[in-house]
C-alpha cells in the first residue's frame, strides 16, 4: 500500500497529469475572466483547492475540477518524492536538479506571496504628507475619541468583524457596537426608488436615505462600497442606531460617559513608521499626442526614528523600496495635482528572481549537455 502510494507520487505520469490539468485550469481561468472579471476568476480558479459548480437556483457547491492550489501542491509533492526516488549523485543530473529546485522555489514563493503580501494605495495631493496607506478593498469602522483635541485615539473595527453581525467590545471604548445590518456592497439614494428600502436609524445622517444591497464587485478596477447600521449600546442605555457607509465621507459624532466620539466607515489604514510628502507630480506626453510618456512623483521621505530625510523620485518601472515596503507609481488625479502610489508589502519578493536564475542555468546546462555531443557526432 505504502509502496504503491510512493510509486504513485513519484511517477512521471502524475507529473504529466498535473501539467495537463495545469494547462486546462489556466486556459479555463483565462476564458472565465471575460464573465467573472479578473479578481473573481483568480480566486475561483487559481487561488483555490477546487473549482466549484453551483447548479442555478441551488445553494450547493459541487467540486468539479482541481483548482490551482491543489494542482500546485500535488506537483510539489511529486517533485520532492521523485527526486528522493531517482536521486543520483553526480554531474549528469545537475541541470535537472537546478531546474526543479527553481520551480519549487517559484511555487513556494508564490504561495507565500498569496498569504503574506499586502497591497494598499497611498494617495497624495501635491503638498500633502501621509504616514499611512489605505487598503484598496478592505474597510474598517473607525471610532475616534475626540474628547482631547490634541490626541487622536482611534479604535478600528475591520469589516471582517462587522460581517458577523454580532457585538464588538473594546477596552478603549466605554460602549458596545452592535451590528444590525451589514451589506458588503451597497448603493444609497436620497429619495425613494423601486428596490430601495428606507434605512432604519435613530441617530446621525441616516434619516431620509434609502439603500439597497448590491452584488459583490468582480472587476479589478472597481470596489465594493459596504454600508451597515450599527447600534451604539452604552452600559445603561442605547445611544441610537447609526448608518455607516463607504458612501459617507464625513464622521458622525455622539457622546458617551462624558466623552465625545466620532464614527466613520473608511478604507482600512496601514500605518508606516515614516512619512511621505508629495513635492511634485509630472505627467509628460509625447508632443502632439495624448500618449503618456512618463508619470513621476517627487516625494520627500522622512523617518523620525533614524532622522532620515531625503528626496526620492518614483516613476514607472522604478519603485522606491524602503523598510520592507515598495512604492510604485500606479495612478494619478485627473487634474495632475495628485498621485496614487501602490504600496506593496511582500517579504518573498526575491524568490522569482532567484528561481529564474536557477531554472535558466539548469535549462542551459541540460540543453547544452545534449546539444554539444549531438553536434559533435553530426559534424564528424
Amino acid at each position: 500500500m505504502l509502496k504503491s502510494l510512493y510509486q504513485f507520487f513519484s511517477s512521471l505520469k502524475l507529473t504529466v497529469a498535473c501539467l495537463v490539468l495545469g494547462c486546462v485550469i489556466v486556459f479555463w481561468g483565462t476564458i472565465a475572466q471575460v464573465h467573472l472579471g479578473l479578481y473573481k476568476a483568480q480566486n475561483e480558479f487559481f487561488r483555490s483547492l477546487f473549482v466549484y459548480w453551483t447548479p442555478s437556483g441551488s445553494g450547493f457547491h459541487v467540486p468539479i475540477f482541481p483548482g490551482g492550489y491543489f494542482i500546485g501542491t500535488v506537483l510539489l509533492i511529486n517533485l520532492f518524492v521523485a527526486h528522493f526516488r531517482y536521486y543520483q549523485p553526480g554531474k549528469r543530473k545537475i541541470g535537472i536538479m537546478l531546474i526543479h529546485l527553481g520551480v519549487v522555489l517559484l511555487l513556494l514563493g508564490q504561495m507565500l506571496t498569496d498569504y503574506l503580501s499586502r497591497e494598499s494605495a497611498l494617495h497624495l495631493r501635491i503638498g500633502q504628507t501621509k504616514n499611512y496607506s489605505e487598503a484598496e478593498r478592505a474597510f474598517e469602522l473607525a471610532v475616534f475619541d475626540t474628547t482631547d483635541k490634541d490626541s487622536d485615539k482611534v479604535v478600528a473595527i475591520p469589516c471582517s468583524l462587522l460581517v458577523r453581525r454580532g457585538e464588538v467590545n473594546d477596552p478603549e471604548i466605554p460602549f458596545t457596537v452592535r451590528v444590525k445590518t451589514f451589506y458588503p456592497n451597497s448603493l444609497l439614494v436620497q429619495q425613494s426608488q423601486p428596490g430601495f428600502e428606507p434605512v432604519k436609524t435613530t441617530a446621525g445622517f441616516g434619516s431620509g436615505i434609502w439603500w439597497r444591497e448590491e452584488p459583490r464587485e468582480t472587476e479589478m478596477n472597481r470596489m465594493d462600497m459596504p454600508s451597515a447600521t450599527v447600534e451604539i449600546v452604552a452600559p445603561k442605555a442605547s445611544l441610537g442606531t447609526f448608518l455607516v457607509s463607504a458612501w459617507l465621507d464625513r464622521p458622525q459624532s455622539f457622546t458617551c460617559s462624558g466623552r465625545s466620539f466620532e464614527l466613520l466607515l473608511r478604507q482600512e489604514r496601514y500605518y508606516l513608521p515614516f512619512s511621505l510628502h508629495l513635492i511634485e507630480f509630472r505627467h509628460d506626453k509625447y508632443p502632439g499626442t495624448d500618449i503618456p510618456k512618463n508619470f513621476s512623483s517627487r516625494v520627500r521621505l522622512q523617518n523620525l526614528e533614524n532622522r532620515e530625510d531625503r528626496e526620492v523620485r518614483i516613476f514607472m518601472n522604478n519603485p522606491l523600496r524602503y523598510a520592507g515596503e515598495t512604492f510604485y507609481q500606479a495612478s494619478f488625479d485627473p487634474d495632475d495635482h495628485g498621485t496614487v502610489l501602490q504600496v506593496v508589502h511582500n517579504p518573498s519578493w526575491l524568490t522569482p528572481y532567484l528561481s529564474c536564475v536557477l531554472v535558466a542555468t539548469g535549462l542551459i546546462i541540460q540543453f547544452l549537455s545534449h546539444l554539444i555531443p549531438f553536434l559533435k557526432r553530426r559534424l564528424q
Binding site: L12, K13, Q33, V34, L38, T289, K293, T326, Y328, L363
Partner: protein
C-alpha cells in the same frame, strides 16, 4: 565512355555551384532595385515626401504619414485612378498631396474601404463596390454621427461587427478630414495670396481689437477681416493632424512643433509669418495652379531652410523614407515564397541528400538553391529588422507588428540551423514558410496604423523590452517551429511515401531539440515578464490573460518533455503534442488579445479572430490525421518486393 562521365560530373558540379548563385544574384538585384528610382517629372512628390513632420509623437517623413494613413483608409499603399479610359496608379504620397492641397479632386477618389453590407445598406451606398469616395459618404455624415454617438458608449469588446465597422469608418473619415486641412485652411484657394492678405490685415486688425477692448472707436472692417481669418485658422488649429511647422526660436525645445493653424494664430501676436508656413503656402498655390516648377522650387527652398536648423529631424525623415521605399519585408516575403516552393519540390525531385552517386541530382540542386535564397531573404529581413530598431532606438519587439517580424526572423534562423545539420530540405521548408507567413501577418497588422508608435510610459524601458519581450517572442517562434516540423511529419507521412524511417527519426529528434529550446526561452521570458511586473507595479504574477498565455506555453512544453521522458508518447504522439503547441502559442499570441479584457486590444481583431479559428481548426484536423492508424499512411508501408 569514362571520359564523358567525368565531363558530365564536372558540368553537374558547375551547375550545382552556379545555378543557386545566379538565382541569388538575380533576386538580390531585384531586392535592391528600389534603391535606384527614375528621376521625377512634374511635381516632385518624392522630394516632398522626405520633408519631416511630427506625428504620433515622433518625427517622420510626410511619406510615412501618407503610407500609414492610406493603409488605414484603403488597406493598400496605392490608389488606382481611371483617367480617359486608362488606369494610372497614385502612390500614397501622390494621394496625400491631393488630399492636403487639392481636396476638391481628392474627395472623388474611391479610397474608403467598407466591407460590411449592413454599413453600406445603412448609408444607402451601392453594394457592388469595395471602395467609396468621400463625396459618396458626405450626404450620410449625419446618419454616421447619429449611430456613432450611440455606439461610443458600448465597450469595444461588446460591439457587434456592424458597430465596430461603423466606428472604423467614422475613424478613417475623421482621419481623412483632418488630413485635408493639415496644410491649407478649408475654403482657401490661393493660399499664398491669402497669407499676404492675412499678414497685411494684422496691424490694423490688432489696433481695432485693442481699441474695441478699450471702449474706443475702432475700424469695423479691419476688425472683421482679422477675425474672419482667425476663425478659419482656429478650426485648423484644433483639427490639423501632423505638426508641420518647426519653431523659429532656437531656445525652444527641438520638438516644440506646431500645426499650421496654431502657428497662424500665433502670427497674429508676433506679426511675423514662420518661413515654413510661407514655403508650404507656395507649394499649395503652385500645386493648385498646376505649376510643377514653382512647387519643386518651394520644396527645395524649404529643405534648404531646414538644413542646419533641423538637421537631425531631416536625417531621421530621410532614413525612414529610404526604409519605406526599399520595402525590405515585402522583398523578403517574395524570396521566402520562392525558396519554399523550391524546397518543397526538392522532396519530390528523386534521390535523397545522402545519395552521393555522381549522377545529376535535381533534388539536391533545388534544396541548395532554396537554402541560398533563404539566406538572402533572411539577410534582407535582418536588415529591415535592424533598420527599424535604429529608426526607433528600441529593441526589436515593441508591439504586435514587430513581434510578428521577430518571430519570423527567429524561426528562419532555427530552420537554417536545422538545414545545415540535416541537409534534407526540411529546414528550408520550415524557414521559408515561417518567414513568409509571419511577414504576411505583420503586413496585415500594419493596417491599423503607424507601426513605430511611441511606447506608453509603462512600456518605455529598453531593458525589459530587450530581455523579457525578446525571450518570450523567441519562445513563441521555437514552439511554432516544433509544431511546424510535426506538421511536416504527419502530412508527408499520410499523403506521400517520402517519409522514410530515417527522416522520421531525424524529424523526431528535431522536434525534441526545438521543444527543449522553446522551454528555455518561454520559461525565462515568462519569469522575466513577472519580474518586470514586480518592478513596475509590485505584482510578480497577476493572472492577466497575456501572462496566462505565456504560462500556458511553458506548461505545455514541459508537458511534452515529461510525456516523452516518461515514455507516455513515442514519435507520433510527440508530433501530435507539438501541433497542440501551435494552438497554445497562437492562443497566447493572438487569442488573449481578443478576450477584450486586460490592457491589450487591437482594432483589426474581427478579421483576425476568423483567421485564428481557421488556424486552430486546421491544426486540429492535422492532429486527427496524425491519429489515423499507421496502415492508412502512405509512408511506412512494407515494400512489396518484385
Amino acid at each position: 565512355m569514362e571520359r564523358t562521365d567525368v565531363r558530365c560530373y564536372k558540368s553537374d558540379k558547375i551547375m550545382k555551384k552556379w545555378i543557386p548563385l545566379i538565382l541569388v544574384v538575380v533576386m538580390a538585384g531585384w531586392a535592391l532595385s528600389g534603391l535606384r528610382q527614375p528621376p521625377e517629372t512634374g511635381f516632385h512628390a518624392r522630394d516632398f515626401g522626405k520633408l519631416p513632420v511630427l506625428m504620433n509623437g515622433r518625427f517622420q517623413p510626410f511619406d510615412s504619414v501618407a503610407r500609414n494613413s492610406l493603409l488605414q483608409i484603403r488597406t493598400k499603399q496605392t490608389v488606382p485612378v481611371e483617367e480617359n479610359g486608362k488606369t494610372r496608379t497614385l502612390t500614397a504620397m501622390d494621394w496625400l498631396l491631393e488630399v492636403m492641397m487639392n481636396p476638391e479632386v481628392a474627395d472623388d477618389r474611391k479610397v474608403f474601404r467598407i466591407d460590411n453590407n449592413e454599413v453600406t445598406e445603412l448609408l444607402k451606398l451601392p453594394d457592388n463596390q469595395k471602395y467609396y469616395s468621400f463625396n459618396q459618404l458626405r450626404p450620410q455624415m449625419d446618419e454616421i454621427e447619429k449611430q456613432v454617438s450611440r455606439i461610443v458608449s458600448i465597450e469595444s469588446s461588446k460591439r457587434t461587427v456592424f458597430e465596430s465597422q461603423l466606428m472604423k469608418l467614422d475613424e478613417i473619415m475623421n482621419l481623412y478630414q483632418r488630413l485635408e486641412i493639415s496644410l491649407k485652411p478649408p475654403g482657401s484657394d490661393d493660399f499664398a495670396a491669402e497669407l499676404d492678405a492675412y499678414q497685411k490685415s494684422i496691424p490694423s486688425g490688432i489696433a481695432a481689437v485693442n481699441a474695441r477692448e478699450a471702449g474706443q472707436k475702432f475700424d469695423q472692417d479691419a476688425f472683421n477681416t482679422l477675425l474672419g481669418f482667425m476663425g478659419n485658422y482656429n478650426t485648423v488649429a484644433s483639427f490639423a493632424l501632423p505638426l508641420t511647422i518647426p519653431p523659429t526660436d532656437p531656445s525652444l525645445p527641438r520638438d516644440d512643433w506646431q500645426n499650421i493653424g496654431t502657428n497662424l494664430m500665433q502670427t497674429a501676436r508676433s506679426g511675423e509669418l514662420n518661413p515654413a508656413v510661407k514655403f508650404y503656402a507656395e507649394m499649395v498655390t503652385a500645386y493648385r495652379s498646376d505649376q510643377p516648377a514653382d512647387f519643386n522650387q518651394a520644396v527645395a527652398g524649404y529643405r534648404f531652410w531646414l538644413v542646419g536648423r533641423f538637421t537631425p529631424q531631416l536625417r531621421k525623415a530621410d532614413r525612414e523614407f529610404f526604409f519605406s521605399t526599399l520595402e525590405p519585408f515585402y522583398k523578403a516575403t517574395v524570396i521566402y515564397v520562392l525558396a519554399l516552393v523550391l524546397a518543397l519540390f526538392s522532396w519530390f525531385g528523386g534521390g535523397g541528400a545522402t545519395d552521393k552517386a555522381p549522377t545529376f541530382n535535381v533534388s539536391d540542386l533545388l534544396r541548395r538553391s532554396a537554402f541560398y535564397l533563404i539566406m538572402l531573404a533572411w539577410i534582407i529581413h535582418t536588415f529591415g529588422l535592424v533598420f527599424r530598431m535604429y529608426l526607433e532606438g528600441r529593441p526589436p519587439v515593441t508591439n504586435l507588428y514587430s513581434s510578428a517580424i521577430f518571430i519570423g526572423w527567429g524561426a528562419v534562423i532555427l530552420g537554417m540551423v536545422l538545414e545545415k545539420i540535416y541537409r534534407d530540405g526540411i529546414g528550408c521548408v520550415v524557414a521559408g514558410s515561417a518567414g513568409f507567413v509571419t511577414l504576411i501577418i505583420a503586413h496585415n497588422l500594419a493596417l491599423s496604423g503607424d507601426t513605430m508608435e511611441m511606447m506608453r510610459a509603462v512600456l518605455d524601458t529598453n531593458f525589459w523590452l530587450a530581455t523579457h519581450v525578446v525571450a518570450v517572442t523567441l519562445g513563441y517562434a521555437s514552439t511554432f517551429v516544433a509544431g511546424f516540423l510535426a506538421i511536416i511529419y504527419i502530412l508527408r507521412g499520410v499523403f506521400t511515401t517520402t517519409l522514410t524511417a530515417e527522416t522520421a527519426k531525424s524529424l523526431a529528434r528535431m522536434v525534441y531539440g526545438i521543444v527543449c529550446f522553446a522551454t528555455l526561452f518561454s520559461f525565462v521570458g515568462t519569469v522575466l515578464g513577472g519580474i518586470w511586473a514586480d518592478q513596475s507595479w509590485g505584482r510578480f504574477w497577476g493572472w492577466d490573460p497575456k501572462e496566462n498565455g505565456a504560462l500556458l506555453i511553458v506548461l505545455w512544453n514541459a508537458t511534452i518533455l515529461h510525456a516523452r521522458w516518461g515514455g507516455l508518447v513515442r514519435e507520433r504522439g510527440l508530433m501530435n503534442l507539438a501541433i497542440i503547441g501551435n494552438i497554445v502559442t497562437s492562443f497566447s499570441w493572438f487569442g488573449v488579445n481578443m478576450l477584450g479584457i486586460g490592457l491589450h486590444s487591437y482594432g483589426f481583431m474581427d478579421a483576425a479572430f476568423k483567421w485564428l479559428m481557421l488556424f486552430i481548426g486546421s491544426q486540429a484536423a492535422i492532429i486527427l490525421l496524425g491519429l489515423l492508424p499507421q496502415k492508412l499512411w502512405r509512408s511506412f508501408q512494407p515494400r512489396t518486393t518484385a
